[in-house]
């Protein structure tokens, strides 16, 4: 079609710039809050610098090690300086004077585990693909199946299909992941995660069961949401107008109905997906996948704070990014958003 007029293009560009700017700002705020949670809140809770430093090392640490950690982390410095070092570490890397040899934490330095003497970032990088594979595959399955079931249920409200699928959906929503996951495990056994780059086919087949397990829950939820959304939209005046034009019912449903019905789903999907990217904790646990969720659990159980903080930051990053994408998709869908 024709190019949009200039005033419209400027309005859209301004909108995008505003949203991106807001996202960057949000990332800074989120990192500061995360930082505060890990470094400030324990102080407020009455912990001494020594006891905090002690958390970064083994169970019965010797005072020299504690002192080294305290100094390396800069726990004795003012908070804004600590935050500054922390951000600087992400950008240019950091160096810790620990024992005789200095340890370097390469940029982006998302912390250093003094317990296992490992940098956090490379471990995160190892685990992100696992969680990402899980989340993306499951999302594709649950969006397609959930929306399809929801639309058909709405159009055939009260039919046999509607009753059955909504009954199953209710069960799907109510069943705990542990249960479905364990049932699937018992029925089909477990496979090892195979990286996509090694063998895409083996990758997919190693993921099918976790995908389906994860998707079942969401698919049920999305079917219900889609059905409710469709029932509401198909009663709108503009649907009547579309029919009054003489459009075929299929076109009325898809072009005029579904598009509006799915809009609110974009926000919900953005959040669900973002939260999953921060670690599909239960699924990873059930299927023994080494994803971000498993990494966080490991960090918590071994009281290895840098690990937990690393996952938290990555999760927060995904949430901010998904939020930004949701905003942009919304603007693409709804002209009232992008042109006001």
């Amino acid at each position: 079609m024709t190019r949009p007029p200039a005033r419209r293009r400027t309005a859209v560009a301004a909108y995008i710039i505003r949203r991106v700017f807001a996202a960057v700002l949000l990332l800074l705020v989120v990192s500061a809050v995360t930082f505060a949670i890990f470094f400030l809140v324990p102080r407020l809770g009455g912990q001494t610098l020594d006891s905090m430093a002690a958390q970064y090392v083994g169970k019965s640490p010797d005072p020299d090690v504690i002192a080294a950690v305290k100094k390396n982390l800069g726990l004795d410095q003012p908070l804004y300086l600590q935050y500054w070092h922390f951000i600087k570490g992400i950008v240019v890397g950091a160096e810790y004077q620990f024992g005789p040899d200095p340890v370097t934490c390469n940029a982006p330095c998302f912390g250093y585990s003094f317990k296992t003497h490992t940098e956090i970032w490379p471990q995160l990088v190892d685990r992100i693909p696992v969680t990402l594979s899980l989340a993306v595959g499951a999302a594709v399955i649950w969006v397609i199946s959930g929306v399809a079931i929801g639309v058909v249920s709405a159009l055939k409200r009260g039919s046999f299909f509607d009753r059955i699928s909504m009954g199953v959906a209710l069960a799907g929503v109510s069943l705990p992941m542990f249960f479905t996951g364990l049932v699937v495990l018992a029925l089909f056994g477990n496979g090892e995660y195979v990286p996509f780059t090694d063998d895409p086919v083996a990758w997919a087949s190693s993921l099918v069961l976790p995908w389906c397990t994860l998707a079942l829950l969401y698919s049920a939820l999305y079917a219900r949401l889609t059905r409710a959304g469709m029932l509401e939209t198909m009663g709108e005046d503009y649907i009547r107008t579309a029919r009054a034009k003489g459009l075929k019912e299929r076109k009325v449903v898809v072009k005029h109905g579904l598009r509006s019905a799915l809009t609110p789903l974009v926000t919900i999907f953005g959040m669900d997906f973002a939260l999953l990217l921060g670690g599909a904790v239960i699924t990873e646990r059930v299927f023994s996948f080494q994803g971000l969720g498993a990494f966080a659990i490991q960090g918590v159980t071994t009281a290895d704070l840098p690990k937990v903080m690393g996952v938290t930051l990555v999760a927060a990053f995904f949430i901010v990014i998904c939020n930004l994408l949701v905003d942009l998709v919304y603007a693409a869908i709804d002209p009232r958003v992008r042109l006001s």
Binding site: P5, R240, R243, K245, G246, L247, P335
Partner: protein, 362 residues
């Protein structure tokens, strides 16, 4: 009447006995009923409505809200999609019966031969598509033309309905239009395929008073230009009195008076029509001087009052003898040529009340 020869040839095989041996009018509605099967009971939204409308003429349908005007018009358009709608009677459009023909056939006529505009143009337009795109869509459903041609046609229509800078406004979305402009755009969309029948369901009710007259003028002008028949629905008699050729007054899903606009407006023969006239805003009179509008509220359409459905609100319910207003439903009776009214009072009684009690107060 235009197209008379075509109609005559169709009449022989397609049209069964219509109004006394005559051919069907361009739009002929016979005993239309639309009932909804709801959990509370059967809602008789339209219950036996009949009327004729010749090509190029305007019929005004008036009545309080809830009297079944919209349901009637949606019925003509075949837009009752609910599975709970029970539709009966006959609708003849240009010699073709619509209720008995399949939904696919009626879909092809919708937007092509008959078009409709609605009360609230903001909610009737899709918020996600540009005004132009929505008009183009309406054109391309029924015409095999490329996008460029359709676009040209849409801009031409926008221009015709009085949208300034139609090339630019073509790209705008409904939320960027004012209320009056949206209704203009709806009209452009409805008329894009030159329909022979336009149904306007309270097209000005949601608009500013200043804009209302402009929209009515526009519809009238376009009707002259396109020669379409128009069904103009309103709850305000004043709106249609001057543009309609004939009027139909609805109460509780039924027609209680119908005739030429002249007759119904100046010699109304039904107490409910008197009430409607009384509730018309008049610029030349003081508010207090006006006749009290129809008292009470519209009846339930599930348990329609016995006898005359209007009797609980009618000041003259006891004028006819033997309590007949509460036991027997008055049928439409011819009052004069082409003027019908459904009331148990005798013609003399009605004329006396009208001339002595009602007309002087209006």
């Amino acid at each position: 009447m235009s197209g008379a020869t075509k109609k005559d040839s169709q009449a022989a095989d397609a049209v069964p006995a219509p109004r006394s041996g005559d051919d069907h009018a361009f739009l002929s509605v016979r005993n239309l009923s639309v009932h909804f099967d709801t959990d509370d009971g059967l809602v008789k939204s339209v219950d036996g409505v009949s009327f004729d409308l010749e090509a190029g003429q305007t019929l005004g349908i008036v009545g309080e809200s809830g009297s079944g005007k919209s349901v009637t018009s949606l019925g003509i358009m075949g837009l009752h999609t609910s599975e709970r709608a029970r539709i009966g009677g006959e609708i003849w459009l240009d010699g073709e019966e619509l209720i008995g023909s399949g939904p696919e056939r009626v879909r092809k006529l919708r937007g092509q031969k008959m078009a409709m505009i609605f009360q609230d143009p903001l909610s009737a337009l899709h918020p996600y598509y540009s005004i132009g795109a929505q008009i183009v869509e309406a054109h391309r459903v029924h015409n095999k033309v490329d996008k460029k041609t359709a676009r040209k046609r849409a801009i031409e229509m926008l221009d015709r309905v009085g949208i300034p800078e139609p090339h630019r406004r073509y790209e705008d979305y409904p939320h960027q239009f004012s209320g009056g402009m949206r209704q203009r755009a709806m009209i452009a969309m409805a008329l894009v395929n030159n329909p022979q029948l336009l149904i306007a369901d309270e097209p000005t009710t949601a608009l500013d008073v200043t804009v209302q007259a402009q929209i009515l003028d526009l519809i009238r002008d376009l009707q002259k230009e396109f020669g379409s028949a128009v069904v103009m629905i309103t709850h305000d008699l004043g709106v249609v009195a001057e543009i309609a050729d004939s009027l139909l007054v609805m109460y509780a899903g039924r027609c209680i008076e119908r005739g030429t606009a002249e007759k119904v407006f100046y010699e109304p023969q039904h107490p409910y029509t008197w009430g409607l006239l009384g509730s018309m805003p008049r610029i030349d009179r003081e508010q207090t001087e006006r006749l009290i509008p129809v008292k009470g509220s519209p009846p339930s359409l599930i348990n329609v009052p016995s006898g005359c459905a209007f009797h609980p609100r009618c000041p003259y319910a006891d004028v006819p003898p033997d309590n007949i207003t509460r036991t027997e439903r008055p049928e439409l009776q011819q009052v004069s040529d082409g003027h019908y009214s459904a009331c148990h009072m005798s013609r003399e009684q009605r004329e006396r009340i009208w001339t002595e009690e009602i007309a002087p107060k209006l």
